[in-house]
């Protein structure tokens, strides 16, 4: 009899713990879906919802504040999305806030991002319709990438033609780089410039020792020394 009561007790505790675990699990899942908190409803009209589904998150300032409750096609080009939002966040979402459809990471689920507008407006009421903006879709990005890739292909094609012309010695740059005669001429010119510069230096030295010009050079040297002294004083 005692053993039977003990067994009953053990069974009761075991079943109670399991049921409690189940209820706690259900509570956490329900809490995420705003089942046990005070909520209000808003909706937004979109042209394209990009695969958004009922149950996806609504995010505001990076925090999950609600979920998508219903999606309904109202005309051939518009879709109405109803959202259930946590009441606590109502004071932060103003009437000029905008809803856009985003993505949770690169491979994640679609979400609705509510972007706050400039301050000063009144907060949203229950069943209000929030302004929406069409988010940049992956297709748009792919179209832009294609245009860029086409341009890059055209540029590389032109570059290939230019490089070929250069290697064949055509045009100014081609001649400059590929023509050996021009290189020899340039080398000669540089040697001449070097020699000319050496001659000019000798002339200037001679002018410095000339009686007529010595005063001018001395004056110049004095001015230089004065400037040096001034700089030294400053330091």
């Amino acid at each position: 009899m005692k053993k039977s009561t003990g067994n009953k007790m053990k069974l009761g505790i075991f079943v109670s713990i399991s049921i409690t675990l189940f209820i706690v699990g259900i509570y956490f899942i329900g809490a995420r879906q705003q089942l046990f908190s005070s909520t209000f409803q808003i909706s937004g009209i979109f042209r394209d919802i990009s695969g958004l589904q009922v149950g996806n998150n609504v995010r505001f300032s990076g925090i999950n504040i609600g979920i998508i409750e219903n999606i309904e096609q109202i005309t051939d080009s518009t879709v109405k999305v109803d959202m259930v939002i946590n009441e606590d966040t109502r004071k932060f979402i103003k009437k000029n806030a905008k809803a856009i459809i985003g993505s949770d990471g690169l491979m994640g689920n679609k979400i609705i991002l509510i972007i706050p507008g400039p301050v000063g407006k009144k907060e949203l009421n229950n069943n209000d319709t929030i302004e929406t903006a069409q988010a940049v879709s992956m297709d748009d990005i792919l179209i832009k990438i294609k245009v860029t890739a086409d341009n890059a292909a055209s540029i590389t094609n032109d570059l290939a033609i230019i490089m070929q012309s250069i290697s064949e010695g055509k045009g100014t740059v081609g001649k400059l780089l590929m023509d050996s005669t021009l290189a020899h001429t340039l080398e000669g010119a540089i040697i001449n410039i070097k020699q000319g510069a050496g001659g000019f230096k000798s002339n200037m030295d001679a002018a410095g020792n000339n009686v007529l010009l010595r005063g001018f050079f001395k004056k110049k040297n004095k001015e230089k020394e004065k400037e040096k002294e001034k700089e030294a004083e400053k330091k």
């Binding site: 039977s4 067994n7 053990k10 069974l11 075991f14 399991s18 049921i19 899942i29 995420r32």
Partner: protein
């Protein structure tokens, strides 16, 4: 005298017909006969379960033996299941740099599929064979007949209580196994990473929905029912003496395990259809 001769001839001709029957046809016939008697057995259960008197004491005793006594085995299996699944999934997710998805992915796998199915298989192995062998030995030692003679309804006392207990206790065990598996997954995540207990469970519940939990729990009632029904059927209809006990236990486990996969397949299809 002439009539006796005619009867003799008829019996001999029937025997010749039976022995010359195609073996495949005989197997098919046996199979349908088995299905028919199993259906009648199940219908008898539904008839007896609602009819008083109710064997509540035996039901509690069986729940203790079937449910509580299976918990340690289920708990150890659950813990290892969560741990191993996490360790095995990590390299694949790491290739995509998606290790942060590990808790959510493992949780969905455990709650939706692995928890219920593995627990049910363990349950079929332990409880199914136990019920099959117990009832079969009672049958071959004529204890069941003795019960009937003494005025106790053996079907109600032995079969109804066991089927009811298994149907109710398996979902309870699955919930416990899921919770322990998730703890095992938490240990697995922290073997190579550093995720707090709070963050782990936030990530787990972030990706779980009612559509993951309820169908998984509902199907375990059917698992429990089928395991006990098949085991009781095999045990209750055992014959061939002690050899029959082994056969009953064996076929109870095999059929119960097979039924788990069939029910699971149907449950998945129905879930996808409605949710």
């Amino acid at each position: 005298m002439v009539v006796d001769e005619k009867i003799k001839n008829k019996i001999v001709s029937e025997e010749i017909t039976e022995s010359s029957e195609n073996p495949y046809l005989k197997k098919l016939k046996d199979f349908f006969e088995e299905i028919s008697s199993l259906t009648l057995f199940a219908l008898r259960f539904f008839k007896e379960v609602v009819r008083p008197p109710y064997e509540f004491k035996e039901f509690v005793k069986q729940s203790y033996l079937i449910g509580y006594k299976s918990f340690p085995l289920v708990a150890i299996t659950g813990l290892i299941m969560g741990l191993v699944l996490t360790i095995q999934s990590r390299p694949t997710l790491a290739q995509f740099g998606a290790e942060s998805w590990l808790p959510a992915m493992v949780a969905v796998s455990i709650i939706r599929e692995i928890g219920p199915v593995i627990t049910a298989l363990i349950f079929a192995g332990k409880v199914g064979s136990g019920i099959g062998a117990e009832l079969a030995s009672m049958k071959v030692t004529e204890q069941i007949d003795a019960m009937e003679v003494s005025g106790t309804n053996p079907f109600k006392y032995l079969v109804v209580t066991r089927i009811l207990s298994a149907t109710i206790m398996l979902p309870v065990l699955v919930v416990a196994a899921d919770a322990i598996s998730l703890y095992g997954a938490y240990i697995g995540v922290n073997l190579e990473g550093d995720v707090s207990f709070h963050l782990f469970f936030l990530q787990v519940f972030e990706k779980l929905s009612f559509a993951d939990v309820f169908p998984a729990i509902i199907k375990t009632f059917f698992f429990g029912f089928m395991i006990a029904l098949l085991s009781c059927y095999k045990g209750f209809n055992a014959n061939k003496g002690t050899e029959g006990v082994g056969q009953a236990a064996n076929s109870a486990v095999v059929l119960a395990s097979l039924s788990i996969f069939i029910i699971d397949m149907i449950a998945v299809q129905l879930t996808n259809l409605f949710i």
